[in-house]
C-alpha cells in the first residue's frame, strides 16, 4: 500500500526521535522506503547522490525505488563509446547518463525497476540485499527459478540475467543499487548496448555482456508495480517497519535542498563524456567521394573527452596540406563530439578558399570524422 506523505516530515521525524519507536528492538528501526515520482534518470540519480551525501544512516536504512524513461546508464569509470551506440541513442532520443557507482552499462526503460539500498558504510552488504529481492520474487511467484550468483547478478532459469548490481561507498555512507527486468524492450536494449565504434583502446571498465530475459516472459501477469510492492513489503518486514512508501519529488528543493544543482551536474558534458578515462582511437574507414572510394586512416588520443592528439592520413594532395593541417590543429583540444566537430568544421570553412570542390571534400571528410564520434 502506498501512502503519500512528505519526505520532509520523515526527515524532521528522524531529528526528533533519537530512540527507536516503542516496541521495536531492531537497530534498523526508523528505516524508510521511498519512491520517486519522476522518470527522469538524471533527477533520480541526483536523489541517490543527495541521500548518500546528506542523510544520517547510522541508525536507519533507506530503500529507494525508481524507474526511468528510456536511458542508458554507464558506470563511473566506463567509456560510452565502447559501451553503447551513441548514434542510435541520439536518433531515438534515449538519454545517456553516467552514474557515480562502479560496474557496467545497463539500459533502463519503464519496464525496468531500480532499487537502491542505502546503509551506513559499516552495514554495506550486497548479498543480503539481493537475497531480499529473490525472497520477494519467490513470494510473489513461487515457481520462479531465480538465484543470486557470486558476481551479484540475479539469474532466471540459471541462465538469463534479470538484474545487475553496482555500488558506491563514501566516507560514512554506502549504497548498493540494482536493476530488475520486468517488461523492458529487449530489442532496443540490445541495439542500444551494441557499440559500432571500432579501434577503441582503453582501460575503462568493460561491461560483461549477458543474455537477458524479462520476468514478464515467465509470468505474464507480472507488472512493475507488483514487483515494487513485493520488494517493499519484504523490506518492511525485514526492517520491522510499516509497509509504507513515501513518494518524493526529485525537483523539490524544500525537501531536498541542493538537489537541482546535483541534477544539473549529472547532465553536463564534462560529467557524462568528460569523465571517460583516457582512450585512443585507431581506425581506417572507406570514404566515398564522387566516383572513388578512399582509404582514410585516423589516430586519436582522447583525454577528458577531448582530442589530445589527432592524426589523419589522407591520400596525398587530396586536400591541400595547409587545409588538412588546419583541420588537425582545430580538432586538437576540441571535444570528441559530433556536434562540436560539425560546428567547428563548418565555421572554419568560412575562412578557407572558396573553391567549391575543396569545400565539398572538406565537408565529406568532416562528416566521416563525425561518424567516429
Amino acid at each position: 500500500m502506498v501512502l503519500q506523505s512528505s519526505l520532509k516530515n520523515c526527515l524532521h521525524l528522524s531529528c526528533i526521535l533519537r530512540t527507536p519507536k516503542a516496541g521495536f528492538r531492531s537497530t534498523t528501526s526508523g528505516s524508510l522506503i521511498i519512491q520517486s515520482i519522476s522518470n527522469d534518470v538524471y533527477q533520480n540519480l541526483a536523489v541517490e547522490d543527495w541521500i548518500h551525501d546528506h542523510m544520517n544512516l547510522e541508525n536507519r536504512q533507506v530503500l529507494f525505488l525508481w524507474r526511468n524513461s528510456p536511458a542508458v546508464v554507464i558506470g563511473r569509470h566506463q567509456n560510452p563509446w565502447q559501451e553503447c551506440n551513441l548514434r542510435l541513442l541520439r536518433q531515438k532520443n534515449i538519454k545517456l547518463a553516467r552514474r557515480r557507482s562502479g560496474g557496467g552499462t545497463v539500459y533502463h526503460d519503464l519496464g525496468n525497476i531500480n532499487l537502491t539500498f542505502f546503509t551506513c558504510r559499516k552495514k554495506y552488504e550486497r548479498m543480503e540485499n539481493l537475497k531480499l529481492v529473490v525472497k520477494a520474487l519467490k513470494a510473489l511467484c513461487p515457481q520462479l527459478d531465480v538465484h543470486v550468483t557470486d558476481r551479484y547478478d540475479i539469474l532466471l532459469d540459471r541462465h538469463y540475467k534479470i538484474s545487475g548490481t553496482a555500488a558506491k561507498l563514501g566516507r560514512t555512507n554506502a549504497y548498493h543499487h540494482c536493476t530488475l527486468l520486468c517488461n523492458a524492450d529487449k530489442f532496443v536494449l540490445s541495439s542500444a548496448l551494441k557499440s559500432p565504434y571500432k579501434g577503441l583502446k582503453s582501460n575503462a571498465t568493460p561491461s560483461v555482456p549477458a543474455s537477458v530475459k524479462n520476468l514478464f516472459e515467465e509470468d505474464p501477469s507480472l507488472t512493475c508495480e507488483m514487483l515494487l510492492d513485493a520488494i517493499a513489503e519484504e523490506y518492511a518486514t525485514q526492517h520491522q517497519i510499516d509497509h509504507h512508501i513515501t513518494l518524493i519529488d526529485p525537483a523539490d528543493e524544500t525537501v531536498l535542498p541542493g538537489i537541482n544543482n546535483k541534477t544539473k551536474e549529472l547532465q553536463t558534458w564534462e560529467w557524462v563524456y568528460g569523465k571517460t578515462p583516457k582512450f585512443s582511437v585507431s581506425t581506417c574507414f572507406n570514404m566515398v567521394y564522387k566516383d572513388s572510394v578512399l582509404d582514410i586512416k585516423v589516430d586519436m588520443d582522447v583525454k577528458h573527452g577531448r582530442i589530445e592528439v589527432c592524426n589523419i592520413d589522407l591520400p596525398e594532395q587530396w586536400l591541400p596540406p595547409a587545409l588538412s593541417s588546419e583541420l588537425v590543429k582545430s580538432l586538437t583540444g576540441s571535444k570528441f563530439c559530433p556536434n562540436e566537430t560539425t560546428t567547428l568544421a563548418t565555421t572554419l570553412l568560412r575562412v578557407c578558399p572558396q573553391d567549391e570542390e575543396l569545400q565539398n571534400r572538406w565537408n565529406v571528410l568532416c562528416e566521416n570524422m563525425v561518424t567516429l564520434m
Binding site: 551525501d53 546528506h54 558506470g75 559499516k122 578515462p277 560539425t342 565555421t347 572558396q354 562528416e367
Partner: protein
C-alpha cells in the same frame, strides 16, 4: 598571567575528560603526549602515511581509477582524495587530515592494497593530529564530524573546512545564512555571502566530491577543537575574496570562431539602421498562425523577414555576392541561402535556409522549425551549416533595439533585428496611434557595396514588411 594559566588548565582538563568518554586508555596516552608535543616549538610538518582503510566484504585490493589531488596540493579533512573501484563498487576515499599531499603511492589503473599506504600527507604539527591512524574502521564518534561554534551565544553548525573558509575570508559565521540541514552552514553559503559582499558573480561550486559531506549527527555536543586561532571579528575592513581566476584554453568551436571573427573584422563594415512599422504584419501573422498550426508548423515573424529579404536580393543581387580573397572578383550567388543566427548551448551557430528565392513563406517556416529543433538537439549537419550567402540575426528575441552586426565571411551583408516594441507614432492624419515598431541594423562590405545600395535594399525590404499585401505582387 595567573588567571590565564588557570583558564588554560581548566581548558585542558575539559578536553581530557572529553577524551576519556570517547577513547580507550591507550589513546589517552597519545593525547597526553600530543599536548607536550604542542608546547614545544616545532618548525616542520610531519609526514603521515595515510593507509587505505577497509572497504568491507573482505576485499583486499582495489584499482585506483581517478586521483582528485596531485602531489603538492593542500587538502582538508574530508576532502576527496581518489576514487577506487572493486568489483562493481566505486569507493570515494577521503582525507582524514588537513595537510599537503607529498606522495601518491599509485598511478592510475594500478592495484592498491587495503592496509598499505595510499598517500603521504604532510601535516602541520601545531594542529595536533595523532600520528597513529587506524587501519580498520575509525572508532565511532572519534573525530567529531563538526563543531559547534559559539558566537554571541548562538550555536552555528559548520564543518572544519567550512569554518576555515570563513576564517580565511574574515566572515562571521553568525552572519551567514545556512541552507544545509538544520541551518547548517555549507561551503556554498559562504560563497554566496561573499558574492553578495563583493557583488561578484561566482563560478558554479566545484564538483560534489570535493565538498566535504555534511555532518550527520547534530545533537552530539562536542568540545571546540583546541586551536589557538579564533574567528576574528572584522572591524570595518573590506572582505578579502579568496576566489581564483580560472584560465582555460580556447578550443574547438570557439577556436574556429576566433579565426572567423578575426577575418570578418578585416572587412570594412558600414552600418545602416532603420525603423520598421510592423503593425500590419503583426495582424497578418495572428491570422495565419492557426492556419500554419493546422499544417503542423509554428509560424514566427522570421519567415516573412527572410522572404522579404530574398525579394529584395532579387533587385539588389550585389548583397548576395562574395568577394574573393584577392578582391579581384565578385561572384554573384544564384541561390539565396539565407542564414538565421541561432543561440545554442555552444554559442552562436548559423544554419541557413536553402534557395529562399523559390520557397513560399510556409515552406520557409517549416524549414526553420526543422533547423531549430536540430539546433537545440545539437544535431545540425554540415549541409545545414554551410553554403550561406546572406544572414539575418534576430537578436530581438533576447532583447535590444539597434545592433552592430559583424558580417560572416564569405558573405558581404548581414541584418540584425531588434525587438518589436509598441510605440506611439503619427499617422497620415496627424493622429497618434499605437504602432508595432522594430529596428533593423544592417552591416555591409564597403569594398563592393555602397550606402545608397544598402539604403534602397532596406527601403524595399521595409516596404514589403510594412505593407505585406505588396509582397503578393512580386512573389514568384
Amino acid at each position: 598571567v595567573c588567571i590565564h594559566r588557570v583558564r588554560s588548565c581548566s581548558g585542558i582538563r575539559f578536553i581530557k575528560s572529553k577524551y576519556v568518554c570517547v577513547f580507550d586508555k591507550s589513546a589517552l596516552k597519545f593525547s597526553h603526549q600530543q599536548r607536550l608535543f604542542r608546547t614545544s616549538a616545532v618548525s616542520c610538518g610531519q609526514i603521515v602515511q595515510f593507509k587505505l582503510s577497509d572497504i568491507g566484504e573482505g576485499i583486499t585490493e582495489v584499482t585506483v581509477k581517478e586521483w582528485y589531488i596531485k602531489e603538492g596540493d593542500s587538502v582538508s579533512q574530508f576532502d576527496s582524495i581518489c576514487e577506487v573501484q572493486s568489483d562493481k563498487a566505486s569507493v570515494t576515499i577521503t582525507s582524514r587530515y588537513d595537510g599537503i599531499i607529498r606522495k601518491l603511492h599509485y598511478n592510475l589503473d594500478e592495484i592498491a592494497y587495503v592496509g598499505k599506504p595510499l598517500v603521504d600527507i604532510e601535516i602541520d604539527a601545531s594542529k595536533g593530529v595523532s600520528p597513529e591512524e587506524d587501519v580498520v574502521e575509525t572508532p565511532p564518534m572519534s573525530h567529531e564530524e563538526h563543531t559547534h561554534q559559539e558566537i554571541k551565544g548562538h550555536k552555528t553548525l559548520a564543518t572544519p573546512a567550512v569554518r576555515r573558509l570563513a576564517m580565511e575570508n574574515n566572515i562571521k559565521l553568525s552572519e551567514v545564512v545556512g541552507t544545509g540541514k538544520d541551518n547548517r552552514i555549507l561551503k556554498e553559503d559562504i560563497l554566496n555571502y561573499l558574492a553578495k559582499q563583493t557583488g561578484a558573480i561566482l563560478p558554479p561550486s566545484p564538483k560534489a566530491e570535493i565538498i566535504p559531506p555534511l555532518p550527520k549527527s547534530e545533537t552530539v555536543p562536542a568540545a571546540p577543537k583546541d586551536r589557538a586561532r579564533k574567528i576574528p571579528v572584522p572591524a570595518s575592513r573590506p572582505i578579502v575574496f579568496s576566489g581564483k581566476d580560472k584560465t582555460e584554453p580556447v578550443t574547438g568551436f570557439h577556436k574556429a570562431m576566433v579565426k572567423t571573427m578575426s577575418a570578418a573584422l578585416k572587412i570594412p563594415h558600414f552600418g545602416y539602421c532603420d525603423e520598421i512599422d510592423l503593425t500590419q504584419l503583426v495582424q497578418l501573422r495572428e491570422e495565419l498562425k492557426p492556419v500554419a498550426q493546422v499544417r503542423g508548423v509554428k509560424l514566427s515573424f522570421m519567415p516573412f523577414f527572410i522572404k522579404a529579404a530574398s525579394l529584395g536580393l532579387l533587385q539588389y543581387p550585389i548583397l548576395n555576392a562574395s568577394l574573393d580573397e584577392s578582391c579581384q572578383n565578385v561572384t554573384y550567388k544564384a541561390s539565396h541561402n539565407i542564414g538565421v543566427a541561432m543561440d545554442t548551448e555552444q554559442g552562436l551557430i548559423v544554419p541557413n535556409v536553402k534557395n529562399v528565392q523559390v520557397c513560399s513563406v510556409f515552406e520557409i517556416a517549416s524549414e526553420l522549425n526543422r533547423l531549430q529543433s536540430l539546433g537545440s538537439a545539437g544535431q545540425l549537419g554540415t549541409n545545414d551549416l554551410t553554403g550561406g550567402t546572406f544572414t539575418l540575426s534576430n537578436i530581438g528575441t533576447i532583447g535590444g533595439t539597434y545592433a552592430k552586426p559583424v558580417i560572416l565571411p564569405p558573405e558581404v551583408a548581414i541584418g540584425a533585428l531588434g525587438k518589436i516594441q509598441v510605440l506611439p507614432r503619427f499617422n497620415g492624419k496627424g493622429e497618434v496611434f499605437k504602432a508595432q515598431i522594430m529596428n533593423v541594423s544592417w552591416s555591409a562590405d564597403h569594398r563592393i557595396i555602397d550606402g545608397a545600395t544598402m539604403a534602397r535594399f532596406s527601403n524595399l525590404w521595409k516596404s514589403y514588411l510594412e505593407n505585406p499585401a505588396s509582397m503578393l505582387l512580386d512573389l514568384k
